[in-house]
């Protein structure tokens, strides 16, 4: 049964089709990195240099030029019901929205990670108490809490930050606790204990570095999410009070003039969407780069 080497005819066809799919996938991969990264950089730059970038002070009202459509001289994106320049308000709004978002993220990430590692590593009663609180925080509607805070403290920058942080940490805790529990039972932590490493060394040298990956992915995505949440609150009037412009309140300002002055709501809405979208794509790209197993984030 001498076998002869027959050149497999089907190979060439599938090869070229296969190369095309790889090229396509690599192209889309680069796009899903460059565009969102660019948007993020633009957002950060506008937030930092907002006062110098805005053509007019964001709260300068000009009753004569009310509802000016986009493109009118001096008002690239038009003006709102009080004649304020939409472009300057969007620019300044970037600073407001981004600072809220970053402040909330750092508070919630820090608290969430600390609690997560503690409850994951220590286990026992500490773990069950922290997890009970986390479950409550996760299932309690954030918006309602924001309302409660708005009622007692009155709307404002810190009320928004507080409202988003009081429940925000729970997401991080649940994730970090899961990861640290897995790491605590891993072979290399057992190895470290046999080597005589102290609990603190185990937490900082072994658990924390292995938890950083999923953390970074969540934080990237959270930038957009927090801006979305803030804009929701501002839209309902329990967020950033007038006249400070936040993208959410701007959308809310424009909602009664939709058919006549659509641009008042349109442009801030687009900004919110762009930031959230790029946050998601950046997060997805980071996840694939770092650890494909974290698919469920």
């Amino acid at each position: 049964m001498q076998t002869q080497m027959t050149a497999p005819k089907t190979v060439s066809k599938t090869k070229s089709k296969h190369e095309a799919s790889i090229r396509r996938r690599r192209l889309t991969q680069n796009l899903t990195l460059i565009i969102p990264a660019a948007i993020f950089i633009i957002l950060i730059l506008t937030a930092i240099f907002a006062p110098w970038l805005e053509p007019l002070p964001y709260d300068k009202t000009d009753l004569v030029a009310r509802w000016a459509p986009p493109g009118t001289p001096g008002h690239l994106l038009g003006t709102d019901a009080l004649g304020r320049d939409v472009l300057s308000r969007v620019i300044y709004g970037a600073r407001v929205s981004l600072s809220v978002s970053l402040m909330v993220i750092f508070i919630t990430a820090f608290v969430g990670t600390a609690l997560g590692i503690l409850s994951g590593y220590l286990g026992g009663n500490v773990d069950s108490v922290i997890m009970r609180i986390t479950d409550i925080a996760l299932s309690f509607p954030g918006l309602l809490l924001a309302m409660l805070l708005a009622v007692s403290l009155g709307p404002g920058f810190f009320t928004v930050v507080l409202a988003l942080s009081v429940l925000g940490w729970a997401g991080y805790t649940r994730l970090v606790r899961g990861a640290s529990l897995q790491i605590r039972n891993s072979d290399y932590v057992a190895q470290a204990r046999v080597a005589g490493a102290s609990p603190w060394r185990i937490m900082f040298v072994h658990i924390f570095p292995n938890v950083v990956n999923p953390l970074i992915i969540i934080m990237t995505m959270a930038v957009g999410m927090m801006i979305l949440a803030e804009s929701g609150m501002s839209y309902l009037g329990i967020g950033i009070p007038q006249p400070t412009p936040s993208w959410g309140s701007m959308v809310s300002d424009g909602r009664n003039y939709l058919d006549t002055a659509y641009w008042i709501s349109l442009f801030p809405g687009i900004c919110i969407a762009l930031v959230v979208l790029s946050g998601n794509f950046l997060g997805d790209w980071l996840r694939d780069k770092m650890d494909p197993r974290l698919r469920q984030l």
Binding site: M1, M5, V11, T14, H18
Partner: protein, 322 residues
């Protein structure tokens, strides 16, 4: 000599990944007769499991694809069959047992239903005949008290028992060919011995042709009639089990056999093959084993050795063998 049930000719299977084409199976040929157990042995990554999956045409999507060769089961080339016909073959004509009993059974369905599902699919029996058929499959695998086991869930059974249930599912429709992909690896020694004895019993009763995939020479020696030794996607030697152990002709086969510690005598120094198995992305030119072979010659590094038939059942691919 009973007739040949399965004839695999020059099978090529590749995985198209981002890093390029991985030639998992690179020209494999063998045959299995009725009532015979053909063993495929090799180290991890040599392509033995991929061969099994190629026969079942269940290569993981989207990358896996059979890119060449023929798989003839009872006269029909499985690669030519339509998807629908192939699906009808699976479970009826050819079946498979997987390695890990802990995760092979669906945790949310009782085991009786999981067996009945195959029976209803491939055998058009009246409903009242289904349960007796299921019980007879459980009995074939010598599972105690099958009537009560029917309603139990997988998590209520031990590893050994679950592997028998997986066997019952595979044999429920009396297939012509059974592919066992390392079924004993996850079992303890004594449970493994029970399971192997079971295989001999099943083959005696049903005369099914078996392909037994494993890396454990102990299992090979007890179960297989003939063995194919695989290395980096190719079968380097095929021979009856006795000859493989008694007079291995391929350097890799003999090196493997001598690096396994013996139970019946004290070895002072184990023979160990130097280096690492080759990466399937960029395979060495010529004979795949040449970089690690202690007796490799220049020609080994340039050209792949042809397959030489020493006897009817013993063939080897090595330049050293004339």
């Amino acid at each position: 000599m009973s007739n040949i049930v399965l004839q695999v000719e020059d099978l090529h299977t590749s995985f198209f990944t981002r890093m390029g084409e991985v030639k998992a199976v690179d020209g494999v040929s063998f045959f299995v007769r009725e009532g015979e157990t053909f063993g495929i042995v090799g180290e991890s990554g040599c392509g033995k499991s991929v061969t099994g999956l190629s026969i079942m045409r269940l290569l993981p999507e989207p990358g896996g694809k059979v890119v060449g060769g023929k798989i003839i089961l009872e006269g029909k080339d499985l690669l030519e069959l339509s998807k629908k016909v192939m699906r009808a073959y699976r479970g009826k004509m050819v079946s498979m047992i997987l390695q890990d009993p802990m995760s092979s059974l669906n945790p949310v369905f009782p085991i009786g239903d999981q067996i009945a599902e195959s029976v209803r699919l491939h055998q058009d029996l009246p409903e009242n005949m289904v349960e007796p058929e299921v019980i007879s499959s459980l009995r074939l695998l010598r599972i105690p008290a099958p009537e009560t086991r029917l309603r139990e869930y997988p998590f209520q059974l031990s590893g050994g028992m679950r592997q028998r249930v997986v066997g019952a599912i595979a044999m429920s429709c009396r297939p012509r060919l059974l592919i066992a992909d390392e079924p004993t690896t996850a079992l303890d020694a004594t449970i493994q011995a029970q399971y192997i004895a079971l295989f001999e019993d099943i083959q005696a009763k049903t005369n099914v042709a078996i392909i037994f995939i494993t890396h454990d020479f102990g299992v090979i020696s007890r179960i297989c009639d003939r063995v194919g030794v695989m290395y980096a996607g190719k079968i380097v030697e095929t021979a009856p089990t006795r000859e493989i152990f008694k007079a291995p002709r391929h350097p890799y086969t003999s090196a493997l056999i001598h690096s396994v510690p013996r139970l019946d005598r004290k070895d002072d120094r184990l023979f160990s093959i130097e280096g690492q198995p080759p990466s399937l992305l960029n395979l060495p030119s010529g004979c795949r084993f040449s970089p690690r072979c202690s007796v490799s010659m220049d020609i080994c590094k340039e050209q792949q050795p042809p397959e030489i038939k020493l006897t009817d059942d013993h063939s080897v691919s090595c330049w050293r063998v004339k």
